[in-house]
């Protein structure tokens, strides 16, 4: 209040001084004019003009002096108002009432900063609360910002990764954590997609293998959930949670181990059987009559068939465990076909069937996993042998099709497949019910073949007419096309380089 009083006194002093000065001016002017011989009317006009001018000047100065502090305070209020970005008033600009303005602006600033603090405290409290909830969640949770750097994590996450927060925070997650996804739909590819196309989204992956940089020998199997929210005001853009399923998935893996054990036990007698049959063939082949030689070939073909079957079981188990890995390399397709069907030719001979091969000359090289392709050829030919019925001729054709892919078809003229059954042919354990009792088989061969061909980037199909026979066909990519796809960054083949999933050129799962 003292400052206001002082300001009032200052204004009163200035206006009184000015008033007295003006009076003196009028008196002086009147005295000066009265001494001259000017007309009376002119004298009155000059004095009145002087009084008007002095009054205007008086009121202007009074207003300017009295309003200046108001203007300053107004600027100060605007300065602290959140929706304005005006600059703070310069208090040096004011001479009259400076103390009052200083005192009032200071109070304005203090009041505003108190409000700021309250908001800040409130905000901080909610952050602390959120952070505390996050910290104590009994799950490994990672929070990223827009730059995909870890900004927060639960205590469980630190414990899980076996690292200190300083090693995790401010760094990309994959510097500490290697996530191997079962297919090309990875956290990274999802993030790239949502950042371009979505405001908010969530995703879930199963059977993700998690390794830690801190201890590479530990392998966890997790389900991973992720949430995305673009430009979230809190700065949190991505939240990733791991659900450890190691125990459950390991139990599944033990089932795989059981298969591995069973396969080992089956293979040992098979090795021996095939070995001794070979000895018989070598030592007795020339000495046996046709009937006995036929028996020997049947033994041999059956042992080979059993070997293929064991191989199929194992690969289906691998496929379902996401362990079926293909190592693609450049191969001559004609040679591959000829090598691949060698076993089948023996079996065809025993069954009195005739496999004719029509291979287009000068086919380009292909990008394949040779052993897996043998399986595809064997499985389809095996099917053709089984379902060719009374007919004898099976034709294998391979050529470059109009799309530039290498197409291989195998045609028999046997019992055929009803159209209602065709769509299910490539499903696991699916077999034509009509023929189940007559023809042996597991229903795994075509299922596996489809998985292998698809993983090669090709397609497999079947066409058939009942009692007229069936054609099974599949395509594979020429090697140059496969390698150019690789260079073009086909997401199927080329993996991202920093460890979300295995990075192996020409490596497909």
């Amino acid at each position: 209040m003292n400052h206001l009083k002082k300001f009032q006194n200052q204004i009163s002093l200035i206006t009184t001084s000015f008033y007295l000065l003006s009076l003196a001016g009028v008196a002086g002017l009147t005295w000066y004019i009265s001494r001259s011989n000017l007309p009376i009317l002119f004298m009155i006009a000059v004095v009145v003009a002087f009084i008007i001018l002095a009054s205007w000047l008086f009121s202007y100065l009074t207003l300017a002096l009295a309003l200046k502090p108001l203007q300053m305070i107004w600027s100060a209020i605007l300065h602290v108002a959140p929706e304005h970005n005006s600059v703070a008033p310069n208090l040096n600009d004011i001479k009259i009432g400076r103390e009052m303005v200083e005192s009032l602006t200071l109070q304005i600033y203090q009041f505003a900063s108190q409000q700021d603090n309250e908001q800040l405290v409130q905000h901080r409290d909610s952050l602390v609360q959120a952070s505390s909830v996050l910290s104590h969640m009994p799950l490994p949770i990672f929070v990223f910002n827009k730059q995909q750097l870890v900004t927060n994590a639960s205590l469980k996450a630190l414990e899980y990764c076996r690292i200190e927060s300083s090693q995790l925070f401010g760094k990309p997650l994959f510097e500490n954590l290697l996530l191997e996804f079962p297919n090309e739909l990875t956290l990274e590819s999802w993030l790239a997609d949502v950042q371009d196309n979505k405001l908010t989204d969530s995703a879930y992956w199963e059977r993700v293998r998690v390794r830690f940089k801190a201890d590479n020998s530990l392998l966890h199997q997790c389900d991973v959930a992720a949430f995305y929210n673009r430009d979230n005001p809190s700065g949190t853009e991505v939240i990733v949670t791991l659900f450890d399923r190691t125990t459950q998935y390991n139990q599944d893996d033990q089932a795989m181990s059981f298969i591995a054990l069973a396969v080992h036990e089956l293979r040992t007698p098979l090795t021996i059987l095939r070995g001794y049959i070979e000895v018989f063939e070598e030592e007795l082949g020339d000495k046996l009559d046709d009937e006995m030689r036929g028996f020997m070939h049947k033994m041999q073909a059956s042992a080979n068939q059993l070997t293929s079957f064991v191989h199929n079981i194992l690969n289906v188990a691998r496929l379902e465990d996401d362990q079926l890995a293909l190592h693609l390399s450049e191969e001559n397709w004609q040679e591959t076909v000829n090598e691949g069907i060698e076993n089948m030719l023996l079996r065809a001979k025993i069954l009195d069937k005739n496999i004719t091969c029509e291979i287009e000359p000068n086919l380009p090289t292909v990008g394949i996993d040779k052993t897996s392709m043998y399986e595809v050829l064997n499985n389809i030919l095996d099917n053709a042998l089984k379902y060719s019925g009374e007919t004898n001729d099976i034709t294998l054709k391979t050529y470059k099709n109009s799309d530039g892919l290498i197409e291989t078809t195998i045609t028999d003229h046997g019992v055929g497949i009803p159209s209602s059954v065709l769509p299910n042919l490539f499903e696991k354990f699916y077999r034509n019910h009509r023929t189940r009792t007559q023809i042996g088989g597991t229903g795994l061969g075509l299922y596996l073949s489809k998985a292998i061909v698809t993983a090669h980037g090709g397609q497999i199909w079947a066409s058939s007419k009942v009692d007229q026979g069936s054609t099974f066909g599949f395509t594979i990519l020429p090697y140059d096309r496969l390698s150019s796809e690789m260079k073009a960054g086909d997401s199927d083949i080329v993996r991202q380089p920093h460890g979300w999933i295995k990075n192996h050129s020409l490596y497909r799962r």
């Binding site: 298969i259 591995a260 396969v263 080992h264 089956l266 293979r267 040992t268 098979l270 090795t271 021996i272 095939r274 070995g275 001794y276 070979e278 000895v279 070598e282 070997t307 064991v310 191989h311 194992l314 362990q323 890995a325």
Partner: protein
């Protein structure tokens, strides 16, 4: 008349076959001997490792599921610095054991070849060995 053994691919070459399944080793010995190889059989991992460390073999066929010491342990010992011996011969894993891709790749990295026994007849194994030179 005795065949000219010098003309055979395996003449003068020594093979150590570490295999506990007698029938399989019998078949391998027969097929490999016919190709001119001098084959020694041992039936457990420990004897196998001792044989590798004492004698010089050109080719070693090493099973994985072995008594006393597994083939993987043999491999590990051979590659440990304490063993201190440079393996001169070529080492081929012969197994029917199914392994994960990763384990298989790790084993392959320490060996010169890998054979699933059930997928090859003894004659094919011999051809495989011949290719090693």
């Amino acid at each position: 008349m005795k065949p000219d053994t010098n003309a055979l691919p395996g003449s003068g070459k020594k093979i150590l076959c570490i295999e506990d399944e007698h029938f399989i080793s019998e078949l391998y010995v027969r097929a490999l001997s016919k190709a001119g190889y001098d084959v020694t059989v041992v039936i457990d991992g420990e004897d196998g490792l001792n044989a590798i460390l004492t004698d010089q073999y050109d080719i070693i066929l090493l099973d994985i599921m072995l008594p006393t010491m597994t083939g993987l342990e043999v491999l590990k010992r051979l590659h440990s610095p304490e063993t201190g011996k440079q393996l001169r011969g070529k080492l081929i894993i012969t197994t029917n054991l199914e392994q994960s891709e990763q384990n298989r790749a790790e084993v392959e990295a320490q060996a010169d070849g890998y054979i699933i026994k059930a997928e090859m007849t003894p004659r094919q194994v011999t051809e495989f060995v011949n290719q090693l030179g």
